[in-house]
């Protein structure tokens, strides 16, 4: 599953960030800000009008991500407890 598909107020664990091309600056930035394997993420809310961008909690920070940014982040489903 990808972060773009995660429902509102749901949590999951990050598997990794997928690069769209060799020098994907967006993928690199996502890793810099903490979207790395093992980290827990939670979708706080979605923007009005089509639910894009989404607001994601990672660690103690919150980031607004557009759909195509969030879809780079691969998640592991159903192993989260709290």
């Amino acid at each position: 599953m990808r972060l773009s598909e995660l429902g509102k107020q749901q949590t999951a664990s990050v598997v990794g960030v997928e690069k769209l091309q060799a020098d994907d600056a967006i993928a690199a930035r996502l890793q810099d800000i903490g979207f790395v394997a093992g980290e827990t993420v939670k979708v706080i809310t979605r923007a009005p009008w089509g639910g894009d961008p989404i607001l994601v909690q990672v660690g103690t920070s919150r980031f607004a991500l557009r759909r195509e940014e969030a879809s780079r982040i691969v998640l592991q489903q159903g192993v989260q407890h709290g």
Partner: protein, 611 residues
Amino acid sequence: MAEMALRIALVGNPNCGKTALFNQLTGARQKVANYAGVTVERKEGHFFTASGHRISLLDLPGTYSLESASQDEKVTLDVLRGQHRGEQAPEMIICVADATNLRLHLRFVLEVQQLGLPMVLALNMVDAAQRRGIHIDVARLSAELGIPVVETVAVRRGGVDALVKLVDQTASKIPAAAAALSGDLHQQVRRIMADCVSIPQLSDAKVDAIDRWVLHPVLGPLILLLVMFMVFQGVYSLGKPVTDLIGDNFDQLNKLVAGLLPDGPLRGLLCDGLISGLGTVLGFLPEILVLFFFILVLEESGYLPRAAFLLDRIMLSVGLTGRSFIPLLSSFACAIPGIIGSRSISNQRDRWTTILVAPLMTCSARLPVYALLIGAFIPAHSIGGILNLQGLVLLGLYLLGIVGAMVVGWVCKRLRPRDAQQPALIMELPAYRVPQIRDLALGLWERGSIFLKKLTGMILALTVLMWFISSFPNPPAGAIGPAIDYSIAGYLGKSLQFLFAPLGFNWQVTLALIPAFAARETAVATLATVYSVANADDVASLGHVLAHQISLASALSLMVWFAFAPQCMSTLAVIRKETGSRRQVVLSFSYMFVVAYACSFLTYHLVKAFA
């Protein structure tokens, strides 16, 4: 001999409170400029420690990483390595991290540490961390990192004393750089976090509670609308009276100087050129400052990224970004602060598109022209008992600008080369904070002085040029018409008329477009002069004269012209300064000219055909 200042660089993630810390340390002793060759802001300040060491502090741009390709990050890395043209490498680094957000900020601390410079860590916002029950073992953190760590509260008086003391101790004997940790940085951060930090709750309950309202799908946009409305009210009710007051005082000064000097070119240059030019420049200032005040409050409080979050989708569909929202909102008062405000947009193309469309927002200087034309040509019919035809036309002109901006943004999006770097949002929504008076005041001072310093010279020079072409040559002896008829401007107006005749403009209107290029509202005064209306303030009688001189089709065409035309040279001057590109100025000018010409042409001929 005076002691050489110790060069310290301040680095940290965005939202770590670095600017507040910089303000607390240096007070008003700061200098703002750009780094050589790039439009990245360079802030430097200095302070003295208790034992008299002079510290020169460089506030580097806030970044998440030193590796990615953005201009801010490149500048930060180059300066820290001593590779930036005209910059000496710092002798020491103060790295700032938000104590409530260490998981994110520690990674950057470790990355900076790899540069191998002497460094201390300022653990900022420890008060907020305590309130949230976050416990940090500072001694252990310092031991694991191998660098001194001090707690700071940048927004509290005395909150940086420990940091200043530490700097004082290290200034006489700079410690060697600690060995950087090796291996995967995220792994290191996790280990340190597990060892030194306990966090009872990942998110702040207060932030959650506010965000539930502010980001609510229905209430959120309504709150945003209310905030926008309040900002507008503020600009008009606080800024406008001061602007008018400055205008009145400059008029008085003008009369006073005019009374002292004999009639002649010197009096003309002083009164009509310099003094009115200065009046124009300073007249912008109050509204700009009020607007910047509100924007700073929204920025410092953390609301601005929320507004950008709510609007990103809509803005993206017309080729802009959520971050374009504030610059465009500002442009309804004046495009100048809007264009300066576009600095917060990190993607270069998004920023250029925003700058390109900002002048299409109906600025307050266009209102006098609209008021004159609407008053003279649009009957005050009421429609359905509540709506007024005059008000509807004014609303229509505002909407025309907005729709125009959307179309231009959309066209820019289509023209964007496919291989260009994809614009990203990836925007942090920080915790809410109470804006501090010190930071607001310094922010206002900084932006106000940028405006005055950068633009006064250029606007003044152009105003004097305008005065010159509208006053020379003098009318021949025995001339009957107003003096401007015989000047270079009059000549230009008449010779340019062939160009504007298809839009339904007579030569008087064409002539009024020339000074309107200096400041749009002066079109009214020029029309008053050429139609020899004794009192230019008497809009009603000028309107009466106009209604007899030009047709309804011409008037509507003129309004449309003002909605789109590149009329204000101050805007073009600030575009030149902010983009550092002449091409951008030429592009702005020419596209607006073409759009205005085409739309006015259509309006004139359609109205003529149907009316």
